[in-house]
Symmetry: C2
């Protein structure tokens, strides 16, 4: 069974919107998905891309578009205080820690992290907040956030995303073709239907 | 009757794809459109935006995406030899010259210019090519390309686009809300349906 790679950063509202659709969309055509959080700041720095929110005219547009897109996707979005300015490396490590043994549990954590940050206004770069959202025993959480395995998994994902040409979040890949943006879901579906 | 502003650059494949849909989409909801060509290089320079095709990783993605999007929109796209690297000021001036007296004729010219550049591989920054595509009497063409009126109309459009926050092509505006990209047509339609 073919798999769709879903690359994203936990700080990306558009990734959250797309995350609410991609598994159902894939399943309708008989595909599975592989969720792969990365750190977009690492990728864009490598590619020489200026993050969209750092340019005033683009920031103004995307802030409006994110709120409107949330309504379009029917998602309970509340702009976080530090939009585009938090590091999601701990969130991504917690994800990969669970993903190594239980993909479903990792996806559940991912949905909770997105919701905590993009709807409830929690700062998921904060360890105490992350601990509360992740709801993992203390020893497991310490291993997830600071152990070498999850750290290596995230570094590997970043490197692979760079090599794959991931230029933003969300970014879907199937058949060596990239689909960038929540707004590419209709085109991704069209591709799956014709495949 | 409310009007949708359609800002675009003649060098933009996504603008061409959207141009094939926007008038019908608007008409279904009782709206008209106002086509407003601009020079994207003037706008992005003003906003401090690096054009997407100038960054290798983004260029690679968008070249693939343009070809796929053409199929998605059912448009006979052939990547032009100088993709993203021609000036469209003469094309835009010819448009505004006709637009001053006959909007329908200006739109017909716009469709021919898009097709000549993005399907037939003609360089529409070249005066002789433009003359052949525009099919205007020589005196009229000279006035269109070099006269003060069309030149002022284009400069005014650029300035107004900058003030409006146009950050790329195509860019639609209605109710003081911007919709950026051919991929925002579904969201624009959703907005019109709820209006």
């Amino acid at each position: 069974m073919a798999e769709i790679d879903f690359w994203f950063d936990f700080a990306s509202p558009y990734a959250w919107f797309a995350s609410s659709r991609i598994d159902d969309l894939a399943a309708r055509y008989g595909y599975t998905t592989r969720w792969r959080p990365v750190l977009m700041w690492v990728l864009v720095r490598q590619h020489g891309i200026t993050p969209p929110l750092e340019i005033p005219a683009r920031r103004a547009y995307f802030q409006t578009d994110m709120a409107r897109s949330a309504a379009f996707f029917d998602m309970p979005y509340n702009p976080p205080p530090k939009l585009g300015a938090i590091s999601t490396h701990l969130a991504a490590r917690a994800f990969y820690h669970l993903d190594a043994t239980d993909t479903g549990r990792a996806k559940t954590l991912a949905r909770r992290l997105f919701h905590a940050y993009l709807s409830e206004g929690h700062d998921i770069s904060d360890r105490a907040t992350l601990a509360a959202v992740a709801d993992l025993p203390e020893g497991v959480l310490a291993e997830a956030l600071d152990g070498p395995t999850a750290r290596a998994a995230l570094e590997s994902a970043n490197a692979q995303a760079i090599a794959t040409g991931v230029i933003g979040s969300p970014f879907f890949v199937i058949d060596n073709q990239g689909f960038f943006g929540a707004d590419r879901l209709p085109q991704l579906e069209w591709h799956l239907a014709r495949r």
